[in-house]
Symmetry: C2
Subunit: 102 residues, 2 copies
């Protein structure tokens, strides 16, 4: 399995972010070829010391890092990436990696 | 479900990090009360633009944010947290949040 972790920093207008994210971005992202599961954070994103500065974290699951790269390189991937610019007004950090259970 | 995402920045001695992580830290972390699943990254942690600066990412799954807080507040949680200081020489970012599938 491989993960994409997308960490959205607190946007200028959190209510507008949430509306766009749920109504527009999630449907676009769910079209990514190879996407196996898509989870989003619910409620605050914390650190052990307190607030994280992140408004929302999405975890996208694929079979492998190669599948992630293929999915993001597709037309659907490019459409989802272009959409991020429209609502992620606080910026976004994204990491991707293969995983295994220990 | 709830996630803890632990992002270890590149340490001073990656080989020593890996040895300590796998031989000492994973067995300690697996004792966390309430831990449902424990996954670690395999190979490089990337961003869409290139290397991330993270050496390893661990994802720990619990039933809820409350279960994470209880797990980390336990004696086992304190032992695992104390161990982090021994090998995470590059620093570590940790975020925790409830999730739901979309």
């Amino acid at each position: 399995m491989a993960h994409v972790v997308v960490m959205y920093k607190t946007p200028k207008d959190p209510a507008a972010f949430d509306k766009h994210y749920l109504e527009v971005h999630v449907p676009l992202a769910k079209k990514l070829p190879g996407l196996r599961k898509f989870e989003i954070s619910q409620g605050p994103v914390a650190t052990p010391a307190g607030p994280s500065g992140f408004h929302l974290v999405a975890t996208l699951y694929f079979d492998s890092l190669a599948a992630i790269k293929a999915g993001f390189g597709s037309a659907e991937g490019k459409a989802a990436a272009a959409d991020v610019q429209k609502f992620a007004t606080g910026g976004v950090d994204m990491i991707l990696f293969d995983t295994h259970e220990v």
